[in-house]
Symmetry: C2
DNA sequence: GTGGAGAATGGGAGGGCTTCCAAGATTCTT
DNA sequence: AAGAATCTTGGAAGCCCTCCCATTCTCCAC
């Protein structure tokens, strides 16, 4: 920080000199490449240890044109998206898997137009070797940004529209079907649903699973109302459903937050859960366990989602061509059904 | 990715050639430095636009010896620390403030020994211009790692022991004092506390605030039990307190999770809250609102914590010498008191 | 018209590493 | 024991910018 005599960072030349070898040899030892005699290898390693040398990553990056960094880009169209524990778990999974590939994680939250421009520059400047992207909407401008980058991109969850080439997603259809079938197996016959936004793939998929289950059981789809994955929207949807479909006896909500909202409205309307109405959510977040009554829901392997995204990206960076992955979810039965 | 003819990334020379100027001039335009005529500036800018040129960040980093990246290092001694919304908010704050300084965010979760070694290498390789660090324990090995790095380090929350030179922290003492005084103002006279781990600064500070409040009110400190900030430990501590101090009428828990555990135990013991016993927590996480009854607690400006950390780091990187910051917290009164 | 201040310009030397290649050292064949 | 085959080795060319500095140009004062 502006000392009198900046002590001039240690360089590979100094290591080489101290070990009595050329810079080339020293470099080979560092990258443990072949064609180095045992004696010189030892000498270099000792010099590295004695001097406490760590190679300058910028120079290495320039020479190899590899930065050793992967970016996770999170589109924040809504304000508090990161606040839910979902991303935290994804990140933990990613972090662990990137460690395997010896990559570091750069986290980009792009909300403003300016932020998006920064992300674009980041990707196109070659500062990262690959990108993981979480975006809900097919028209998210970040998707185009990622396309323009000439670096591999893995999606976490498919945005709507034509699916990207590489993605990891939860099998939302199967999960929603299992949830609905569970309601039917409890003897419910008038099962309604609170869907997520239908312009998102996840919203659509969970709705599809619901309809499939009814279809397979030979039942007609009942009323559905759309929410936006918030508790408040779930409550509002539930009110509307009660109004139009007073004899409902089962509710599949497309996520736990909305299910929690629905529970409150049901309680307020004097319907007891699970006696009068059974309710199932989706996600298995903390809110599901804390709900009154505790919520039956579909558990997603969120951490695995992160892990698999990172693994896929590592494979891509390594020149391989992995296939998309759909992760299974499973039902967790609690007191609401 | 291994094409036949890798199209050889665009370079500044090509921009310069197209604009009919030397590379030096082109570079000056890119960094909008002075000493460029209007005409050439325009020519270069047009060439940049036409070609879609983005400077190679690795080369720039090497030349300027600035990476444009700041790291957030989170020590994960316990497994699910990131899962609480705390870090999510810190990160959002950091991200916003880093954008001001045109820095990108690298996220390092170091739990294993290997992960720690990787972080050390990252810092010492000069890959980041500065570090923000969140660590609870004074003996966290990461603190030494940060010391060895010759890059500026800002702490979020002081670890125990001698405080670091640069940090941003919540004023835990004042918050705890306010919480305790609130209990006293409700007429409680036998106020006990559930502390956090006393080998952490935050644990100690909140305990100190509790004692100060009692002292100022001319009361003696009552029983205290120590937890580890988990709900389970709060419940256990509450049981012990009920046993040794059956006439207690107020509880200050050093965080919301432990307060939630305490509430459950109190309910189980037939003490009603807030009639028989008043309870105050600390943090104002979601759990405080969801608790039964809703928890009076101390709200912390968590997002601001992140913002200020990042700002401080930006200042340090810019060669300034900022002062440590203590952020105020405030009481949120709900139904538990 | 001349000197000189100050701006504009481009050449070129880094920045610290990787990697190609030619040359020297070693081992293996027969 | 000579020649082929294989390892080791170090010199030097890159990677793509930034920035110092010597040079040229512009313009104004006297």
């Amino acid at each position: 920080m502006g000392n009198a005599l900046p002590p001039r960072r240690l360089t590979l030349d100094q290591v080489a000199e101290r070990a009595g070898v050329s810079r080339s040899v020293a470099s080979r030892v560092l990258n443990n490449a072949p064609h180095v005699s045992r004696a010189k290898r030892d000498a270099v390693e000792r010099a590295v240890r004695d001097l406490g040398f760590v190679a300058n990553s910028k120079a290495r990056a320039l020479a190899t044109s590899q930065s050793g960094v992967a970016a996770l880009v999170i589109s924040r169209q809504d304000p508090s998206i990161l606040a839910d524990p979902f991303y935290a778990q994804v990140i933990v999974g990613i972090s662990a898997a990137l460690e395997e590939g010896d990559l570091h994680l750069m986290l980009c939250l792009a909300e403003s137009e300016r932020g998006r421009a920064r992300v674009e520059k980041l990707l196109r400047s070659g500062a990262v070797d690959g990108v993981m992207m979480m975006a809900l909407h097919a028209d998210d401008p970040l998707i185009k940004v990622a396309d323009k980058a000439s670096t591999p991109v893995v999606f976490g969850g498919r945005p709507g529209g034509t699916p990207p080439q590489w993605y990891v997603d939860i099998d939302n259809v199967a999960g929603a079907r299992a949830a609905t079938e569970h309601l039917l197996s409890r003897g419910r016959r008038n099962v309604v649903t609170i869907t997520g936004p239908l312009d998102t793939e996840v919203g659509q998929a969970r709705h599809r699973g619901y309809r499939e289950a009814l279809l397979l059981a030979g039942l007609k789809a009942r009323a559905s109302e759309t929410g936006d994955f918030t508790e408040a929207s779930g409550a509002a949807a539930m009110s509307r459903l009660l109004e139009h479909q007073p004899d409902l006896d089962g509710v599949f909500a497309a996520n736990d937050n909305m299910a929690a909202g629905a529970l409150k409205v049901l309680r307020g309307a004097g319907r007891s859960v699970p006696e009068d109405v059974s309710v199932v959510g989706f996600d298995d977040l903390a809110v599901a366990q804390n709900a009154q009554p505790a919520l039956t829901t579909v558990h997603q392997p969120i951490r695995d989602l992160g892990t698999e995204m990172a693994r896929m990206l590592v494979a891509l960076i390594g020149g391989k061509n992995p296939s998309p992955i759909l992760l299974p979810s499973h039902l967790v039965v609690r007191s609401s059904t």
